[in-house]
Symmetry: C2
Subunit: 342 residues, 2 copies
DNA sequence: ACACGTTTTGGGAGCGCTCCCAATTTGATT
DNA sequence: AATCAAATTGGGAGCGCTCCCAAAACGTGT
C-alpha cells in the first residue's frame, strides 16, 4: 500500500497543505501539529512521490553524469570509476541522485541528447572529459542546461573542475631534469583533449624553464591506451632519449613493454615518469614514479559546483567557476631517482 | 522555450489526445494526421516531459544500479565499471536510464533506501554483489520492488545473473592438477559473499573429483583486496603448497608480493592461478593465468532480465530467472604450464 | 437518402504534489 | 470585551501527461 499526502493528512487530522509544509520544513506550523503530522508519516511509512513533486516544482533532484565518448581506457582505467564514486557520495549527502549516461559512438546521439537532457529528467549535468570538438558542450550552452565540465574547457562561459595538469607535468619533468637528464622525450595524450594538451604544455614549460631546447622529434602523440603507449615508445626509441615523460600510467605500461622488448632496462637505461597514479602504477615492476591527481575529490567538487549553480536561483549569469585542483609527484622506482640519492 | 502537448496540438490543428497517440504510436490516427503531427513536433523540437509522463503512467523508465557495500576494491577493480558499462549500454538501447546508488557504510541506509526505492524514482533495480546477510535483498522482496541480483542468491525467489564461479574455479584447479600439482592451496574471497563461497566450492570439487584430499590448512580466507591477498599468502607459506588458486587477480597481485618478499619464484617454486582477468593480470610479471568472466555481458543481461520483469505486466509471479554465464580459463605464465609444454 | 457499425477524434478527469490566496484562529493590546 | 495584526490553516488551481468515454466522421449496404 502506498499512501498519498491527502491520506496522511486525513490520518493526522489536518490538510494536505499542512502536511506538505511539515515535510518541506516550511514555517507556520505549530510544533504540536508538526508532531502529529510526523507521527502519521511514520505510522504509514509515507514517502513523497518523486514524479509528482518534480511536476509541481520542476526540480528533479537528479543530476546526470555524461560521458561523451567511450574512450577505450575509460572503463579499465580507474579514473572514471573514482570520479563516479566521488560524485555519487557527494550526491548522496546532498540528497541528490546521479544518473549515468554514456554517449556511445554509434548510438543516436541526437536522440539520446534530447531524451536525457531535454525531457526534464535532470536538473543539471556533469560532463566528463569531453573532447574539445565535441558538440555536447555547445549544445548544453545553447539549451541553457546547467552543467559543469570535468576537465578544463578554455572557451566560453563553462564552469569546470580540473586537476592541475600543467603543473603536474612540469613537476614530473623538472624532477627528471633534477636527476640530470637533458634528453627528455614525452608521449602525450590525444591532443584534441585539453588534458593531453596541458600535460604537454607542462613538459614544454619545464624544459624552457631550465633553458633546455624542446626537440619536436622527442614528442610523440599517444592516445592514453596501453597499445598506444607501446607504439609511441617504439617510434621514440631511435631518438634514444635518456628519459621519458609519459602522459598516463596506462600508456607507461605499454611503453615499458616496448622497452623490455627492445632490451632497455628501466630505470638504468632510460628513466620513466608518468601521470595518474592508478593502482597498477605501484603494482608493476618497476613501480612507476607518477603524478597523482585527486580524482575522487574532483568528482565531489564537480557536484558541489553544479549544486551551487542550481541553488542560485537568482537566474542570472553567476560568475564562471574554474577550479583547478593540485597534483602531486609520487616518487617510486621508474625514474631511478631520489630513492638512490637519499 | 519549452513546449507542451497542448501547444503542439494547437500547431498541428488537432487535440492533445491525438498528439499523445502519435507519440506513443497508438493506433487510430489517420496517416495524414500523423504526418501533420510529426511535422509540428519536429518544428518546435517538442520533447515530452518525463515527470508528467511518470505521474500519469507510474512508470519512470529509470532503473537503479544499487551497490550495497563500497567494497574497497569496488572502484579500483574494473569489475564494477565494466558491469556498469554493460548495463548502461543495454539501457540506452531500450530507452531506459540508469541511476546509480551507492549504499555507503556510514550513510543512513534506511533514509537512502526509502528515498531511492520507495519514492517512485525507479521502475526496478539491479543489485550488485550484495553480501548474503545484507538486509537490502529482503527489503526489496518485502516491498515488492522488481529487481535482479548480479551474483547468485540461493534463497528465495530472487532473479539473478552470475558468472559460473564454481566451474571456473574447478577448471582453474583442474588445470593445476593436470600440470602435476597435488598440494594445491587456495586463497578464498570473503565467505559471506556467494562468489567467495562458489569459487571455494569449485576448488573442492576439482580436488575431490581427482581423489585428492582437501586439507583445511591449505584454505585461507581473503577479502578480494591486494593487502588481503598478501596477508593470506604469508599465512599460507609455512604449509608450503606447490600451487595456489587465488580467488581474484587483485589478491593474486598481493600474493605475488608476499612470495617475492619470501624469495619464492613464480612459477618455478610455486604456481599461481587466479580469477577475473582484469587488465593488470596481463600487465604484471609474470602474467597471470586466470579465469575470465563476461562482466560486461552480465551487466547487459541483468538489464534484459529486469526489463522482462517490468514488461510482463501480468502482475503475477513470473518464474524466477537464474542465469549463469560461462567462464573461461586464460592460460598465461603464472602457472608455468601449457606454454612450456606446447 | 438512411441506418448502422466502425474508425477516428476531442475533452474531462485524474496522477500526487506545490503554491498562492483567502479564511480562520490566535494573542497581544487597548 | 473589543480590536487588529500576525500566525496558522485549508482548499483551489495547476504542473503536463495518459486514459477513458462519448461524440463525430466515415464507410458500407440497402
Amino acid at each position: 500500500m502506498t499512501y498519498t499526502l491527502e491520506q496522511v493528512a486525513k490520518i493526522a487530522g489536518v490538510s494536505r497543505s499542512t502536511v506538505s509544509r511539515v515535510i518541506n520544513q516550511q514555517p507556520h506550523v505549530r510544533p504540536q501539529v508538526q508532531e502529529r503530522v510526523w507521527e502519521a508519516i511514520r505510522q504509514v511509512g509515507y514517502q513523497p512521490h518523486a514524479a509528482a513533486r518534480s511536476l509541481a516544482t520542476s526540480r528533479t533532484h537528479v543530476i546526470g553524469m555524461i560521458i561523451p565518448e567511450a574512450v577505450p581506457t575509460l572503463f579499465t582505467d580507474p579514473f572514471f570509476p573514482l570520479l563516479l564514486r566521488g560524485a555519487t557520495e557527494a550526491c548522496n549527502s546532498h540528497r541528490y541522485q546521479l544518473m549515468l549516461s554514456l554517449f556511445i559512438p554509434g548510438a543516436d546521439r541526437q536522440e539520446i541528447y534530447r531524451r536525457i537532457l531535454r525531457s526534464g529528467y535532470l536538473d543539471g549535468a556533469i560532463v566528463a572529459s569531453a573532447s574539445l570538438d565535441d558538440s555536447l558542450v555547445p549544445n548544453l550552452l545553447r539549451d541553457r542546461i546547467p552543467f559543469v565540465s570535468v576537465g578544463r574547457y578554455p572557451n566560453g562561459r563553462v564552469h569546470y573542475v580540473d586537476a592541475d595538469n600543467i603543473n603536474g607535468a612540469r613537476m614530473a619533468v623538472e624532477h627528471l631534469i633534477r636527476l640530470g637528464h637533458r634528453r627528455i622525450a614525452t608521449i602525450t595524450g590525444p591532443l584534441d583533449m585539453i588534458a593531453g594538451q596541458d600535460r604537454l604544455s607542462g613538459y614544454r614549460q619545464a624544459l624552457e624553464g631550465r633553458g633546455i631546447p624542446v626537440e619536436e622529434e622527442l614528442i610523440v602523440e599517444g592516445d592514453f591506451s596501453e597499445n598506444g603507449g607501446m607504439a609511441a615508445m617504439q617510434r621514440l626509441l631511435p631518438a634514444s632519449p635518456s628519459a621519458v615523460f609519459v602522459a598516463s600510467d596506462t600508456m607507461a605500461v605499454g611503453a615499458l613493454k616496448a622497452l623490455r622488448q627492445a632490451g632497455w632496462r628501466v630505470p638504468q637505461d632510460i628513466a620513466l615518469v608518468s601521470f595518474d597514479d592508478i593502482p597498477i602504477a605501484s603494482a608493476i615492476e618497476p613501480a612507476l614514479t607518477t603524478v597523482r591527481q585527486p580524482i575522487e575529490r574532483m568528482g565531489a567538487m564537480a557536484v558541489a559546483v553544479l549544486l551551487s549553480l542550481l541553488e542560485d536561483s537568482s537566474g542570472e549569469e553567476s560568475p564562471v567557476q574554474r577550479i583547478v585542483m593540485p597534483t602531486e609527484l609520487v616518487i617510486r622506482a621508474s625514474c631511478g631517482s631520489a630513492l638512490s640519492r637519499s
